[in-house]
């Protein structure tokens, strides 16, 4: 098979900071290349060079043996290179089919749009992905996972030769991930070249033939996937040995923190469970099974329609996040950009947003020195890497942003902490730090509800695992009972 895409000693700097340093690799027809590396290793920059968003300072990109330098993603797309972005690039107020055909709408000779024709084509694309989404639905009404599938459908409709997938599975649950894998394998059979970027190492080994590892802008390893194991991969990525992936130690169960009885709300159907201080309960399930919905009802973001919630023996009926915070609940949303942090504002202002009142003196003014000290304490405690407290959050890596999000919730000293996908879009090193943090919070007697579609993670750090399916609690396992198979069985029940 011939090389579809070749990179030869590609370099790129931004204002004297070298982001890519003589990076070379090649992508063959009919193969899947995994591009691995921590956040900030240069993966995204590399993809932006291939797709024409950036130009490189040194080296060259060869496509089908010819040197190319695209000046826009549009050009790259027309030449046959498509990218599925990590950040969704769909327009929320357009329909699914309008999004898929954006910029290349089918028109009749009067210039009028042929909506029916486009919707039929869209329906077919989605059927191939086993997605039950009507083409005329507005994107804003879709879940994050469904939007991701639409994004995938869009890039497939381009019929590109090279398809780059930047963390496509991050928002997906296992079933959707399997569908995506089947699609990838069939594309591979058709002789396309795929570049697959993922933080989930098991996926890399399951799906990819070739592995390229970036660290600090340099290609530290290129080779077939079967010549390397997970430990070696991690060592290449982080440049150091990581001990066991999931820190876990049981702690004696404390008092009853939360009792939920037949709780119902949109997407949540008569869920009952109890949670104690000093334990982590992992909530697993498919996309749309009701994990996020459950988290939001418990926090007061969405009102409950029926059922009872008791916190530390007190009956509560929360009607707003304000009341959720007052009841001692912390919540870290799955959507860091939209719901977690104010991207344009500073680390400090984000971290203290929910707890400003405690920094107010009697005169009503903020004690800024105390605020700075407290933020500094958390920055150190969570080893948040930032250029000072005034650094805006949008300039920080995913992992560090997530730590700021966590710190923000923890500043309010909650008794119950609800984490929705706390490691999404976070690199291996930061993931481990977050796991260690969860463990130590548990040891301090917090009750932690972990909503996650990352099954190994749920199994790795939970004391108990609860599985949701179509809004209902379909199974509950102790740590010893739980395994991947049982959870998947319960999830599709």
């Amino acid at each position: 098979m011939s090389d579809l895409l070749q990179l030869e000693a590609v370099s790129k700097s931004f204002s004297a900071v070298t982001v890519l340093d003589r990076v070379s690799f090649s992508l063959k027809q009919g193969s899947v290349l995994a591009l691995a590396g921590e956040n900030g290793a240069g993966k995204s920059t590399l993809m932006k060079i291939i797709t024409g968003l950036y130009s490189c300072d040194g080296g060259q990109v060869l496509y089908r043996g010819q040197p190319v330098s695209f000046t826009s993603p549009r050009q790259a797309m027309d030449a046959g290179i498509a990218i599925i972005h990590q950040e969704l690039n769909l327009l929320p107020n357009l329909t699914v089919s309008e999004n898929i055909f954006l910029g290349r709408e089918i028109r009749n000779r009067w210039g009028l749009l042929q909506s029916a024709q486009m919707e039929q084509a869209t329906a077919k694309l989605l059927r191939d992905l086993k997605q039950d989404i009507e083409p005329d639905r507005l994107v804003t009404s879709l879940s994050l996972a469904q939007q991701q599938m639409v994004e995938i459908a869009k890039s497939l409709s381009l019929d590109a030769e090279v398809i780059i997938m930047d963390e496509p599975t991050d928002a997906l649950s296992d079933v959707e991930t399997q569908v995506l894998f089947e699609v990838v394998l069939s594309l591979k059979k058709q002789g396309k070249g795929l570049i697959f970027i993922s933080h989930r190492l098991d996926e890399i080994f399951e799906l990819c033939d070739q592995l390229a590892i970036l660290r600090d802008g340099q290609m530290v390893h290129v080779g077939p996937t079967d010549e390397i194991d997970e430990a070696q991969l991690i060592r290449h990525m982080v440049g150091r040995e990581l001990s066991e992936r999931y820190p876990y130690a049981a702690v004696p169960r404390g008092e009853l923190c939360l009792r939920v009885e037949e709780l119902s709300a949109p997407g949540v159907d008569k869920i009952s469970f109890e949670a104690y201080a000093g334990e982590v309960i992992g909530f697993s399930g498919l996309i749309g099974a009701g994990r996020t919905e459950l988290a939001r009802v418990l926090y007061g973001l969405v009102p409950q329609t029926s059922g009872r919630v008791e916190i530390k023996g007190q009956d509560v009926r929360l009607k707003s996040p304000e009341e959720g915070v007052a009841a001692g609940i912390g919540y870290v949303s799955e959507d860091r950009k939209g719901e977690g942090l104010i991207q344009m504002h500073s680390l400090k202002h984000n971290m203290t947003l929910g707890t400003l009142r405690r920094f107010a003196t009697r005169s009503g003014f903020l004690d800024q020195r105390r605020e700075r000290q407290e933020v500094g304490r958390f920055v150190e405690l969570f080893s948040i890497r930032a250029k000072g407290q005034e650094m805006s959050v949008e300039q920080m890596s995913g992992g560090n942003q997530q730590k700021v999000s966590l710190a923000k919730s923890l500043m309010a000293e909650p008794g119950i902490l609800i984490l929705d996908e706390p490691t999404r879009g976070v690199d291996v090193g930061a993931k481990r730090e977050i796991y260690a943090l969860i463990q130590s919070l548990k040891e301090q007697g917090l009750c932690i509800l972990l909503m996650s579609s990352d099954l190994p993670e749920v199994l790795g750090i939970s004391d108990r695992v609860m599985v949701l399916s179509r809004g209902c609690l379909s199974a509950s396992f102790s740590r010893d009972e739980a395994d991947q198979e049982k959870i998947m069985c319960a999830a599709v029940a």
């Binding site: 926090y299 973001l301 707003s320 996040p321 304000e322 959720g324 915070v325 007052a326 919540y331 949303s333 939209g338 719901e339 977690g340 942090l341 104010i342 991207q343 344009m344 504002h345 202002h349 203290t352 947003l353 929910g354 400003l356 009142r357 920094f359 107010a360 009503g364 003014f365 903020l366 800024q368 923000k408 309010a412």
Partner: protein, 314 residues
């Protein structure tokens, strides 16, 4: 290059100083103390309104109703004085009316979910109508009682040689700055404009903050209305027409983002001064008032275009 960075970071101030330098070359009387105090006094009304609108715009909102609130409050104040109401009471009642009208905007926006643009456009139209009904379309005299004479000081008086409107504007800017930069409430204002959903999820009562912000804008319009009424010694039913646009222009010239979450009160003050200097300069140059509007619009457009080009390069 640090010099370049300082220039870019303070571009509103640089623009103001360049403008002043240019005008002073053309007309030496421009830099006289009298003329500068005159500019400051004329600017103070716009600056006070712009202060309220800065808060609103920081939450990613807009307030078009300030001109009408100003007129109605001016008329209310004049009628109170004509009925020999004690001065302090008249002032407090007028400020409260402004606050309530603003709060009504806030309620429509945050409880009924109406877009700020529409809600305050409706407010602008209806309140102008209310003012015309209330005044019967005629100027309202402040009456002949002593209290009116005292009230006129608010517009034409001096304290230690400085016109009182300037002192009032300086006072509210100091307080406004402290609230915005040194209190939790001020942080919430920025946070709501930065990302309302994040702010809500962090457990902040976003609705309450927004209602207070619009109420504040109403109070500022009422204060401006009183100063104008005191200056003219009567309330005009058509007072404040188009003032909302001058105030919004001042906020934008001061570098505050209309998308919310970013901006400063000092910028707004400088923006208001740019407009004030421009008005003054056009008058000194004897430009007809018809052409003045065109010139003003052109300068604002130029400033905003330059600003966005500098931003995209930075």
């Amino acid at each position: 290059m640090p010099v370049k960075k300082i220039l870019i970071d303070n571009k509103s101030l640089v623009a103001l100083l360049l403008l002043m330098a240019a005008v002073s070359l053309y007309s030496p009387s421009f830099l006289s103390v009298d003329n500068l105090l005159n500019i400051l006094r004329q600017t103070s009304i716009n600056a006070i309104i712009a202060l309220g609108i800065t808060y609103v715009i920081l939450t990613a909102g807009i307030d078009l109703s300030v001109g009408s609130v100003l007129a109605l409050c001016g008329a209310v104040c004049a009628s109170l004085l004509a009925a020999d109401t004690p001065l302090v009471l008249a002032l407090l009642v007028t400020l409260s009316v402004g606050g309530l009208l603003g709060a009504a905007n806030g309620v429509v926006i945050s409880l009924f979910g109406v877009q700020p643009f529409i809600a305050t456009l409706v407010g602008m139209t209806m309140l102008r109508g209310v003012t015309l009904v209330f005044t019967d379309g005629r100027p309202v005299s402040t009456g002949d009682f002593e209290v009116a004479e005292a009230f006129y000081q608010m517009g034409g008086g001096y304290f230690v040689g400085i016109p009182i409107p300037i002192l009032l504007a300086a006072g509210v800017f100091l307080i406004g700055w402290l609230i915005l930069n040194r209190t939790a409430f001020g942080r919430y204002v920025y946070a709501i404009g930065g990302n309302e959903q994040v702010t809500r999820i962090a457990g902040i009562n976003v609705r309450r903050v927004k209602i207070i912000v619009y109420a504040l804008s109403g109070v500022m319009a009422a204060l401006a209305g009183m100063i104008l009424t005191a200056r003219l010694e009567s309330a005009q039913p058509t007072a404040g027409l188009g003032y909302e646009l001058d105030a919004i222009a001042a906020v934008v010239l001061g570098g505050t983002s209309l998308m919310g979450g970013r901006g400063t009160l000092i910028g707004t003050l400088i923006g208001a001064l740019i407009i004030g200097v421009l008005n003054n300069a056009l008058n000194l140059m004897d430009v007809s008032s018809y052409y003045q509007q065109i010139a003003k619009g052109a300068v604002i457009l130029l400033a905003v275009v330059v600003d966005s080009r500098v931003k995209s390069k930075a």
